[in-house]
Each structure stands twice: as structure tokens, then as C-alpha cells.
């Protein structure tokens, strides 16, 4: 405890650290962006790719499982066994399979975001009001029209809730993946300044993780309001 200010940074020292990180040269290949923004962009890109994969696969499988009983009986046992395994428990395997950097991070984000997206999509599809399906049938809709014009839009609020939860968990998984299996990104950055015992820079990195996560959340909320405008009023 020789150097308390170094371990418990003051607000001023964090702001100073933010300034230093902004101007310091960025990670390999992104020197132009500065250390802070370069690592933020790298992290964001990983999250966007992992989350997009999770959204596509989660919604796709969720629609199938939530709509057809047979698909549910077939796939649910596998999913229910995989789901309780925390994404972090996959880190060793992810590094064995994918090495370091972009790929294992994307894999972990996908894994973390996939299950809440899947579960919420299934729930939304299953809760499609029976009356709406009946009305659609009497109006002449066929099975595929009922799926896409009644089931999916009716599940949209639940799907959006799943995406919102998914991006939050994806962001956590990203930081976890970067702490161990990476040499760039915000998670790596805060871990690096742990090893040099520069707590003010670690805190500055944490602050950036919070801000970026918040901005993504806001963005998704905006998108949700746009898609689910009919729920307002």
C-alpha cells in the first residue's frame, strides 16, 4: 500500500488518463485511431459481428422451435443441456479452437447472446394469440402466410426484448474474452494496465466499456421503438 493514489485513482487522474489514452498510438493496424478509440472500435466490431450472428441464428431457430411442436421436441433437449454452461466456461475451448483475438471473442459473444435471443423468440412465437391465427385462416391465409404475417410480427416485441438482453450479455462476454484470449480491445487494455499497475488507465478503460455499452443499448432501443411503434400510444 505504498502508493495509494496509484491504486485508488481520483476523478482528475482518470480524466488525465483518458486524455493520455486518446492521444497514445492505437493497437496494431489501428495506430491512427489512438489507443482508446482504436481498442473501442476493435471491441465494438467484435460485438457487432458476434451479436449479428447470434441475432440471425437465434431468431431463425427460435421461430422454428416456437412454431412447430416437432422441432421443439427434437431440439429443445440439446439446447437445454448447452444453455446452463456459462459462456465463460467456453473460453478455454474457444482459445483452443480459434486461438487469440477476433475469432474466439466473436464466438463467445455469439454464445452469450444466442440463448436469450433464442429463448425470447421461442416464447414470443408460442404466445401468438390463437384468435389471430384463426382470423387469418378465415381470411384465407395459408400456413406460411400465417407464420410470417401473424406469428413473426406477433412475436416481435419478445424478439426485441431478447435482442436487448442478448447485446448486454454479448458485451460482457466480449470483455471476458478480451481479458484472457486477446491482445487488443478494451478488455485487453484494462488488463494490460492492471499488469503495469496504472489503475487510472484501467478505470478509464472501464468507463469506456460502460459508455460504449450504453450507446449500443440506446441504439437498439431506438430501433425497437421504430419497429414496435404500434405498441406505443
Amino acid at each position: 500500500m505504498a502508493n495509494l493514489p496509484q491504486l485508488f485513482p481520483t476523478p482528475v487522474s482518470v480524466i488525465v488518463a483518458l486524455g493520455q489514452l486518446l492521444v497514445a498510438p492505437g493497437p496494431p493496424g489501428m495506430a491512427w485511431a489512438g489507443e482508446l478509440m482504436g481498442n473501442t472500435l476493435i471491441s465494438l466490431w467484435r460485438v457487432i459481428v458476434g451479436f449479428a450472428l447470434a441475432a440471425v441464428t437465434g431468431v431463425f431457430l427460435g421461430v422454428i422451435i416456437g412454431w412447430w411442436r416437432n422441432a421443439r421436441d427434437l431440439l429443445e433437449p440439446v439446447i437445454e443441456i448447452l444453455r446452463p454452461i456459462p459462456p465463460l466456461a467456453w473460453i478455454p475451448l474457444a482459445m483452443l479452437w480459434f486461438g487469440l483475438g477476433f475469432k474466439p471473442a466473436v464466438f463467445l459473444i455469439w454464445l452469450g447472446a444466442f440463448f436469450p435471443i433464442l429463448a425470447n423468440t421461442v416464447l414470443g412465437m408460442e404466445n401468438t394469440p390463437h384468435k389471430l391465427i384463426e382470423v387469418a385462416r378465415t381470411l384465407g391465409a395459408g400456413p406460411w402466410q400465417i407464420l410470417f404475417k401473424v406469428g413473426v410480427p406477433s412475436a416481435a416485441p419478445s424478439i426485441m426484448a431478447g435482442l436487448r438482453i442478448g447485446i448486454g450479455i454479448g458485451w460482457m462476454c466480449l470483455v471476458a474474452a478480451e481479458l484472457t484470449g486477446s491482445n487488443s480491445g478494451l478488455g485487453y487494455m484494462i488488463m494490460y494496465y492492471y499488469s503495469t499497475m496504472e489503475a487510472s488507465k484501467t478505470v478509464a478503460g472501464m468507463l469506456m466499456i460502460g459508455i460504449a455499452g450504453y450507446l449500443m443499448f440506446i441504439g437498439l432501443k431506438k430501433l425497437e421503438d421504430k419497429i414496435l411503434f404500434w405498441k406505443a400510444a
Partner: protein
């Protein structure tokens, strides 16, 4: 039997319980034939299978016994020749009024311009012009039910099936909607099968009132209503018919 639009011939419906293997008979030997452009009201005690009967005619359920014919053709599945209106409207909340009304033509792959035209016309028909871009959450109960009726009319069905459509509306809106429905019916000459709890509503609207027996449901008695439209609820003959039908129904409720 010329002009028989809808024939329900000896229909029975038995529901099998999923567990325990017990079964419930909802309808037994129900027969009724309805003329083109005729307005028929079904009344009867709760749980007598009125809704089940409508679902059978709509093709949403299959009869266990007997058969149902529309224009002489047996009903095997739902089809745009029969429009269904539920008590709780069952509007698509993510579609605006036009989108809801145009749903039928849309799934039948009517070209966009034409389906928009159809929707506009049906919206006008139910007296809702100008609110085509509102969403169901922005509408009152009466307006929602008008949209549901317009949606059912958009496929130009020969038969309109209505399951207690005004049951959840307040008394004033209900009276208004009854008159609106009569106007729409008069202008379009659809056969209407209208399920209701209210004998007064039945006598006010129908050419014939069908009283059903308690569970399992079948036809107990049919009352022709020979009063001219528009009817007066305080008219002596109106009241005496209403009382007659009410007494007939009360026997079933004992």
C-alpha cells in the same frame, strides 16, 4: 330449396379430452338452413355450443358427425367465402386500420392498388373514413369492432359469422352498432349468422331467432321475426316476441 346459402345438416361435435380419455359432446344433431341474405340469430344458455357451431361453419373445427354446405359445397377448411367476427375484435395490433382490412385481399394476392381500393371501400362502408392510418391501440371498442367487420367484409364473403360481436361494448355503442350492422347487411345482402346472449338484440336484428338447447346444443325452437325494419324495442309485438323467446330459453337454463 332455392337460395339456400348455408346448410347445416345433422352436425354433431364431440371434444376428446387430452387426458383421461373422457369426451364432451358440444353439439348433437344440429340442423339449420339459412337463405341467401338472411339474418339469423342464435341464442341459448352459456356453454350450449354456439361458438363451436360458428367455428364449424367457419371451417376452423371439423364436425364429428353430419356436414355443412355453403352453396351446396361441403365445408372442409376455412375460406374467404365466410367472414368471421369475434367478440374481442382480434385485430392485428401491428397493422393500421387499412392494413387490417386489407389483410384478406393481401393473402389472396390481390394486387396492391386494388386491395387498397377494397380496404378504403370497406372502411367507408363501416363509417370509419379518415382513420385508415390509425392503429388498433388508438381506437375505441366500437371503432375496433367496425374495423373487424370491415376486415371480414373485404373478401366479399357470402356469409358473415359473428360471435357475440357487440358483447363487450357499452349499451349505447351497442345500439349504434346494431343499426350500423343492419345498414351494412341491408346494403350488401350477406347471409348473417349472429351469436348473442341477448334476446332483445336477437329480436331487434334477425329474420329468424334460433333458440338452442343446453349442452349438448341442438335446435330447440325457431322463431321467425316478422317485424319490419327499423324495429322499435318498445313496440308491443316486439316485447311479446321477446318475452316468448326469453321464456323458451329460460326452460333450458333450469
Amino acid at each position: 330449396m332455392s337460395g339456400r346459402k348455408l346448410i347445416i345438416d345433422g352436425v354433431g361435435k364431440t371434444f376428446m379430452e387430452k387426458r383421461g380419455g373422457t369426451s364432451t359432446v358440444a353439439l348433437r344433431d344440429f340442423s339449420l338452413s339459412i337463405g341467401d341474405g338472411e339474418f339469423v340469430c342464435l341464442v341459448g344458455p352459456s356453454g350450449c355450443g354456439k361458438t363451436t357451431l360458428l367455428k364449424l361453419v367457419a371451417g376452423l373445427e371439423h364436425a364429428s358427425l353430419g356436414a355443412i354446405y355453403i352453396d351446396g359445397k361441403p365445408v372442409t377448411s376455412p375460406g374467404p367465402d365466410r367472414g368471421l367476427v369475434f367478440q374481442d375484435f382480434a385485430l392485428f395490433p401491428w397493422r393500421d386500420v387499412i392494413g387490417n382490412v386489407a389483410f384478406g385481399p393481401e393473402v389472396l394476392e390481390v394486387p396492391p392498388a386494388e386491395r387498397l381500393q377494397i380496404a378504403e371501400r370497406c372502411i367507408q362502408l363501416v363509417g370509419l373514413s379518415g382513420i385508415g392510418h390509425k392503429y388498433p391501440s388508438e381506437l375505441s371498442g366500437g371503432m375496433k369492432q367496425r374495423v373487424a367487420i370491415a376486415r371480414a367484409l373485404a373478401n366479399n364473403p357470402g356469409v358473415l359469422l359473428m360471435d357475440e360481436p357487440f358483447g363487450s361494448l357499452d349499451a349505447q355503442t351497442r345500439n349504434l352498432m346494431q343499426n350500423e350492422l343492419l345498414r351494412i347487411w341491408y346494403d350488401n345482402k350477406k347471409a348473417v349468422v349472429f351469436v348473442t346472449h341477448s334476446v332483445e338484440e336477437a329480436v331487434y336484428l334477425a329474420n329468424r331467432v334460433v333458440v338452442m338447447t343446453g349442452s349438448p346444443g341442438s335446435v330447440k325452437q325457431i322463431f321467425p321475426v316478422e317485424l319490419s325494419y327499423p324495429r322499435s324495442r318498445t313496440d308491443h309485438s316486439f316485447i311479446s316476441l321477446r318475452e316468448k323467446i326469453t321464456r323458451c330459453m329460460a326452460e333450458e337454463c333450469r
